[in-house]
Each structure stands twice: as C-alpha cells, then as structure tokens.
C-alpha cells in the first residue's frame, strides 16, 4: 500500500474530487502559489494541474474567504476553502457559524450550503498561541455544522472525499504535525462515512476516546499498557459532529472505564461531551471515575519545553489509565 503523510492524502482527495466534479474548487491564502514547495502539503501541485480558475489564492481576508464559500455553495458549486490556522477561525466564524450553518434553516430548507472548510490545527511547531489553539469544541457546539478531525492519512482521504460530497457545511480539521507522519493509504477511490467512529485498537480494560493527532499518543500508550497487562480499547472519533455515540457506548459498556484524551485545553473541551453521553447512557456499566487527559487551561506557549509541557503525552495517559484500572 502507498505510504503518505496526511497532507499528501488530503491532496489526493482534493485531486480526485476536482477531477470527478467540475464544481469543486479550492480557495484560501497560499493554496496556489505558496511560500512552501513541499509535496507533503495538502494543496501542492493543484494550481499547476487545475489552473487559477479552480485554485484560488485569496487576499488575507478570512471573512471574505468563508463568505465566498457560502455564496458559491448556495449557487451549487462545491467550495473547499482553507483557513490557515485554527485561531483564525475566529475571523471566519461569523460566516461559518451564523451563515453557513444557519442559512439553510432560516430559508426553511430551501437553500443549501455544501461547502468544506479545511483548517490546520495543533501545537508542536513552536509558533505559539496565535497559531496553535484547538477550537474543535467550538465548531462541534454549533448546530448545522459537521465536524471531522481525522487521525490518519487513510481516514483523512476517505473522510475528505465524503465531506466534499456532503450536501451540508463540513469543517475538516487537520493537525499540521500529521502532514509529516507517513501512513498506509489504500490505492484508488474510497469513501469513509462522516459520523462513524473507528476502534483503532480493541481492548477490554478501559476505553480511551480520542481524535486527531492524539491517536498516536493513545496507541503508543496502549502498547505500553499492554506490556503491563492492561488492554486499552482506543476509539478514534474521526467525526465530532454528528457524534457516533453508539461506538463510544458499546466500548464503555464493555470496558466499564473511560479516559478521554485531547490536545485542546481542558475546561469546556469536547471531552465533556463524551463524558456526558457516557454518564447519561452507560452509567450502569461504569466501574470507575472518568479521567481526562488534555492540554492545560493555558494558551499554547512558544518555547519548546513549555510547548512540550502543553501537549498531552503517553506518560500522562498511562498514569490516568492506571489511576482507574
């Protein structure tokens, strides 16, 4: 099987969908002519292949970029826009939250907004809190939006293709550090449905629910725990909204224990939603308290030792698991 970084997998999905559907176009800051020239990046080569009509470099104007998507989607095109880094979602958020997500409802179901917002997220590249601030919990708390946050190149490809074909607005969040970690990607066309979690490692003793880059931490920790006889089941949400509560509940009903792991800061993070769902619907199965392993309630600092301190690691996850097993 081909080995690709997540950026390359996203790139394949974009290419295939642009070939398939002439209504698909991409727009954003540097999606065409870029300061980088790396084939590891998601939009590499697309300008050369599809030309400036379908690969649109925009001014530094996040609200206009998002509005472009809203209007073009209503007209029946399939915009895939890029918001360079998650903190800049704020600047596009009126268009995405008050418009993309609501205008269909406000029209009584007459207008539709099939658009994709791709967004880079994650800490780990030393740029500090105005570039690194995971806000997936914001997006997941917004009726009318779907939220996808893949953890592997293979998932990213199949999910992005589904997102582009979805008749609704989808926010697709890519942890930038995953661009550079190659993984197997099936050849040829395939789709992964939005709204389905994936058990990335089965286990009987504890359920670890996670998504995006933290999957790697979860699997690493699970391997080490297994060596000590603790079998963690790792559930990769893949989609935060709509949330696959069935898969979560089935796992917790089996293991009786829940740890939620995410990179975003703790208070108000999406772990709370997972905890609430479990506490509502699998209470009788629970044998132990919840543990959350998350970023602390601070902005992401720039200095390497501080940034490492911010990002949850295997040691913290292992300690949390052992605490409740």
């Amino acid at each position: 099987m081909q080995k690709l970084g997540m950026g390359q997998a996203v790139n394949q999905a974009l290419r295939e969908e642009m070939v398939r559907d002439p209504g698909v176009f991409i727009a954003g800051e540097g999606v065409g002519v870029s300061i980088h020239d790396s084939p590891m990046l998601p939009t590499h080569g697309l300008l050369a292949e599809f030309g400036p009509k379908r690969v649109k470099d925009t001014p530094v104007s996040e609200a206009a970029i998002a509005g472009l998507a809203v209007g073009a989607a209503e007209a029946g095109l399939r915009p895939v826009i890029e918001i360079m880094f998650n903190p800049f979602f704020t600047l596009a958020s009126d268009m995405i939250v008050n418009h993309a997500a609501k205008l269909r409802y406000l029209s009584g179901g007459k207008s539709s907004f099939p658009l994709v917002v791709r967004m880079k997220s994650g800490a780990g590249f030393g740029a500090g809190c105005q570039h690194s601030h995971n806000l997936e919990a914001w997006v997941a708390h917004c009726p009318g939006l779907k939220v996808v946050m893949p953890s592997t190149p293979a998932d990213a490809k199949g999910l992005l293709k589904s997102a582009i074909r979805d008749p609704n607005p989808v926010v697709f969040i890519e942890d930038m550090m995953l661009y550079f970690a190659p993984g197997p990607v099936p050849e040829g066309e395939y789709l992964i449905p939005i709204g389905k979690a994936d058990v990335k490692r089965p286990g009987r003793d504890v359920t670890v629910v996670t998504w995006s880059k933290m999957l790697g931490v979860a699997l690493g920790a699970a391997g080490k725990l297994a060596a000590e006889g603790i079998e963690a089941e790792v559930v990769d949400l893949r989609t935060l909204s709509p949330l696959d509560t069935e898969t979560i509940l089935a796992s917790v009903r089996k293991t009786g224990r829940l740890v939620v792991l995410h990179e975003a800061s703790r208070t108000g993070g999406f772990a709370g939603e997972v905890a609430a769902v479990v506490m509502e619907q699998a209470f009788e199965s629970l044998k132990a308290p919840l543990r959350r392993v998350t970023g602390p309630d601070i902005p992401v600092p720039a200095s390497p030792p501080l940034e490492r301190f911010y990002i949850p690691d295997e040691g913290q996850l292992i300690a949390a698991v052992k605490d409740i097993v």
Binding site: F25, K53, K56, T58, P59, S61, E62, A63, A64, A66, G67, L68, A69, V70, G71, A72, A73, E74, A75, G76, L77, P79, D94, M95, N98, H99, L103, R104, Y105, L106, S107, G108, G109, K110, S111, S112, P114, P143, G144, P167, N168
Partner: protein, 320 residues
C-alpha cells in the same frame, strides 16, 4: 438606456405595493402580539429596491438584509408568502423559521438574507463568483446600509470582488441612520461611495429617491460587471422615515428632518414624472393603488388564516 415605459410602470407598481405592504404592517404592529418579533420597515426608501430590481433580469441574484421588504417585493417575491413569514406562520416562505428578519426567497433569486449587519457582501461575492465560474451572464446585487459599510466583512468583500473582477453591484442605502446613530457619527467621509476608489472600482452617488436614476445607475453597473470589469459601489442617498424598528421611539430623529424627507417621497415623484411624460394616467395610477391594496389585504388574510408551525417542526431543515 434609460428606463422604458414598462420599466417605469414596473417601478411604480412595486413601490406602491411595498408602501401599502408596510403601511399595513405599521398598523398591525399596534395590535399587541399580532406580529411576533421585530418589525423593520423601509418606508420612504422604496425607490431603491424598485429601481435596482427593475434593472435586473430574473436570473440576477440579490442578497439583502434586515430591511428587505421593498427589495424582495420588487424582485417578485409572493406577498402572501412574505406576509405569512412575517407573521411567523407555517405557510411563510421560510416555514416560520426566519420570521421577518432573514426572509429568503430562492424562487426569485434572493436565496440568502442575513440580519447580521455586513453579512451580505461576502456571500454576494461567493454568489457572483459562481456566476463568473460558470460563465453565466448574470450579476449579483448586494444591499447594505450606511452603518453596515463600517463592518470589516464589507471591506474584505469589496476588495475581493474588485481584485477578481466579480460581477457584483454593491448597493449602499444611505438612509442617514444606523440604529440611533447618525451618519456623521459613524463615518467621517462625505460619502460611503468615496471608499470605492480604495478598491479600484467606481463609486457612484445617486439620489435614492429618484427611481429612474436608481434604475439607470444599476443598468450601467450591470453592464460593467457583465463586461468583466468588476464591481461597482453605488450609494443611494435616502432616508428612513420610521424608526430603526417599530419599537423605536425616534427621539433622536428631528421631526422637521422627517417632514423634509417625506416631502421628497419617491412615489409621488415618479408618479408626477410619469404623468407629465404621459406614461400613465391618473386613473391608471388609482387602479394600480387599488391593486396594491387588494394584494396586500389578501396577503394579510392569508397570513392571518394560516396556522403556526407545529412545535416539533423546529427540528426540520437543519441539514439537507
């Protein structure tokens, strides 16, 4: 090409309809709980909607805002469905999900109405982009107010539309107020249209109470857009007779200012011109007025007779 007789008749008809439509709403608002939510009227500004939409083809798109009645009626929206939506009834054009503030009428190419001030222009850019992308000979008109012009989104949208030569016409209805704030208190430049040069596009100031002039200015901007030269910003000087909404006490609006602008009402003005030019007779005007009245009264009857949506219908129409 100045407005033909037919176009002038169309404008007069749509102004009469919008005026009657809103005069009735003014009255209905006095009856407690008759109409839920806010009530935002464009009484006195009808020449803008009428002139703009008369200059458009059916396939041209408009993106409008919270003060949309005359725009939508002029674009051909069904008064019954609008009225029912304003009453928040199930038969309304948006099934009661919207109410008066975000009336969307995709049937007449008014697919996205937003009450977020400044929300329209970025969307209009996207709609116009689709027209350009597909090679359609169509334009998108975006209505904003003078206050909206100070939202960042409007700036970003105008710049992008100009850089990409998109077929957009930005229509700024300068009605002197943004909420309770006078123009001079929110903008230092003499005209909103003065901003156009900063985007490398034409900025035009037009008498917004002169329907024929409105028509002409949009025809010209539309030509330019279709020729691939990009957007135009047209500012229409007009006035908001009523408060920001019907709950506005208008304490800050000088009475004589209102009276002055009422004396400059766009409807008698167009009517007088048309009578003078022999394009219409006094009798024909009376017939048009009667027609407007009967259409509006029928719309109100329809709205009043319609049921509210069932509560659980709230759950529908979120996702396609």
């Amino acid at each position: 090409m100045p407005a033909s007789k037919e176009k002038k008749l169309e404008m007069l008809r749509s102004m009469l309809l919008a005026r009657k439509f809103e005069e009735e709403l003014t009255e209905l608002c006095k009856i407690k709980n008759k109409i839920p939510g806010m009530m935002i009227l464009c009484t006195g500004q009808e020449a803008v909607g009428a002139g703009v939409c008369a200059a458009l083809e059916a396939d041209d798109v408009i993106i409008t805002n919270h003060r949309s009645h005359s725009h939508l009626l002029a674009k051909g929206a069904d008064p019954k469905l609008l009225m029912a939506e304003i009453f928040c009834k199930r038969t309304g054009c948006n099934k009661g999900k919207s109410g008066t503030l975000h009336l969307a009428v995709p049937e007449v190419n008014a697919p996205c109405t937003t009450t977020v001030v400044g929300g329209g222009p970025p969307i209009a850019v996207g709609r116009a982009f689709a027209q350009q992308y597909r090679g359609e000979k169509r334009v998108t008109v975006c209505f904003i107010g003078d206050g909206a012009a100070n939202e960042g989104s409007v700036h970003e949208a105008m710049n992008l539309a100009s850089v990409w030569r998109l077929p957009v016409v930005f229509v700024c209805e300068n009605n002197v107020y943004a909420g309770a704030q006078r123009y001079e208190e929110h903008t230092r430049a003499a005209n909103i249209a003065d901003r156009a040069a900063g985007y490398g596009m034409p900025g035009v100031v037009v008498d917004g109470n002169d329907a024929a002039a409105v028509y002409d200015s949009v025809r010209e901007a539309r030509e330019r857009a279709l020729a691939g030269e990009g957007p135009t910003l047209i500012e229409y000087k007009t006035y908001r007779w009523r408060g920001h909404g019907e709950n506005d006490m208008q304490l800050y609006q000088p009475k004589d200012e209102i009276a002055r602008w009422q004396a400059a009402c766009p409807i008698p003005r167009l009517r007088a011109d048309m009578l003078a030019e022999g394009l219409v007779t006094a009798d024909e005007v009376r017939t048009m007025e009667a027609q407007a009245e009967s259409v509006v009264l029928e719309a109100i009857r329809f709205a009043e007779d319609s049921p509210y949506p069932e509560p659980h219908e709230a759950l529908e129409d979120v996702f396609a």
